[in-house]
């Protein structure tokens, strides 16, 4: 169970490989997380403040929706993050399945509750936006339904990784679900093009110019950056917890705990 660092001195690419091995080794990553999560968290907070100020105060109202469109500034980044976090979780889960990377398993497990949180935010804010503009809190159209399926996938991964007593097989079961669920990502993204939906098409993530006025777009881009930094910071916190817990019988954890 001890963290193992292989120097492999006689290989030509050994320098890069050693670096990479060191990066993905639990003790090194723990220290990396401790050093960076705080900084990332504070930068995210600053960007959140700037984005909210821009979106709620500085940006002009929409010509059709008035002030209700300001929900866009939390809805769109949350929805985007829900899919991005899923992709990260699936990639980490796959690395755990294929190369038995401990860090991959820990990252995948840490992503699930964060992704569920973003998905929940996207669904709730979308619902609160839908009521005044569309006339309904919820409609079973393809975009909304596939996003709800994404929430179930995240919750399913969380439940599976808790379900079995043996942590490794629980991780593997959750990882298989995570990888299989990737089919849902293109379905969510293209649902508004493939089928008739009430939800509108993409405004920013599309070919050509975004169909959002520049003064409205700038706070939105700041919010996207804030959500991404927030995710990194929160992920590092969760992964470091996960590593401490998983490796609790190793020398490095004992050293960390002693302070």
């Amino acid at each position: 169970m001890r963290a193992h660092i292989d120097p492999a001195p006689d290989l030509p690419q050994s320098a890069i490989r050693t670096r990479f091995h060191r990066f993905i080794s639990p003790p090194w990553f723990y220290r990396f997380a401790a050093r960076w999560s705080g900084r990332l968290g504070w930068s995210a907070l600053l960007l959140f403040a700037a984005g909210a100020c821009g979106g709620l105060v500085l940006a002009p109202p929409d010509y059709q929706m008035g002030d209700s469109y300001r929900i866009l500034y939390v809805h769109a980044p949350a929805a985007w993050m829900s899919m991005f976090v899923y992709a990260v979780m699936a990639a980490a889960a796959a690395s755990g399945l294929i190369w038995h990377l401990k860090l991959g398993e820990a990252v995948a497990r840490a992503c699930a509750p964060l992704g569920a949180a973003f998905t929940l935010c996207a669904l709730v804010t979308g619902s609160l936006w839908g009521r005044p503009t569309w006339g309904a809190y919820w409609v079973w159209d393809a975009r909304l339904t596939s996003e709800l399926v994404l929430l179930f996938l995240f919750v399913g991964c969380m439940a599976l990784s808790e379900a079995l007593d043996d942590r490794r097989s629980a991780s593997r079961a959750a990882a298989v679900l995570a990888v299989a669920g990737v089919v849902n990502l293109p379905i969510i993204h293209f649902s508004v093009e493939w089928w008739n939906t009430l939800h509108q098409g993409a405004s920013v993530a599309r070919f050509g110019r975004p169909s959002v006025d520049t003064r409205m777009l700038i706070p939105l881009l700041i919010m996207f950056a804030a959500f991404n930094l927030y995710f990194l910071a929160a992920l590092l916190n969760r992964v470091s917890c996960e590593l401490l817990d998983r490796e609790r019988r190793t020398q490095w954890v004992a050293e960390v705990a002693r302070g």
Binding site: Y63, T133, G135, D141, A142, G201, S203, M216
Partner: protein, 144 residues
């Protein structure tokens, strides 16, 4: 492990094919005229509210309008509160059934497009479309 993959994949495939028929939220007026919508049953129809077709009842909340997808047009009757985004030229989705050539709706939802802009930019765009930039009195903001 392989069994779990197969099970998840199979479930996803099955539900997708099951959804295939019902995954579209609404029928277009052309589909309704071609008789593709359930006959006499409740379904959704989506399209654009025809300009100048909205006629509101004087005493109650009843409203009549024409719904088009540019190829076909069907008349719609509705009584109730309309969403904020309902207006002529706007995309909407109505839930109801055909009653003697008229679609009687029990719910009307407004569809939004992916464009976001401030009111003055929209005015300038519309002025530009009409071919009269500002009309001499108000200087329209320059367009991007």
């Amino acid at each position: 492990m392989a069994l779990l993959v197969a099970a998840v994949g199979g479930a996803a495939g099955l539900s997708l094919t099951a959804l295939e028929r019902n995954i579209n939220l609404f029928f277009s007026p052309s589909q309704v005229q071609a008789g593709e919508a359930p006959d006499g049953g409740v379904f959704r129809v989506g399209g654009m509210v025809v300009d100048g077709s909205v006629a509101r009842g004087e005493a109650d909340l009843s409203v009549n309008f024409a719904l088009t997808d540019t190829a076909a047009t069907i008349p719609v009757a509705y009584t109730g509160i309309l969403p904020d985004l309902f207006r002529e030229g706007q995309g909407i989705v109505a839930l109801g059934a055909m009653r003697g050539g008229v679609f009687v709706a029990t719910q009307v939802l407004a569809k939004h497009d992916e464009n976001y802009m401030p009111p003055e930019v929209n005015q300038a765009l519309q002025a530009a479309n009409r071919g009269k930039y500002g009309g001499g009195d108000s200087g329209a903001p320059s367009l991007p």
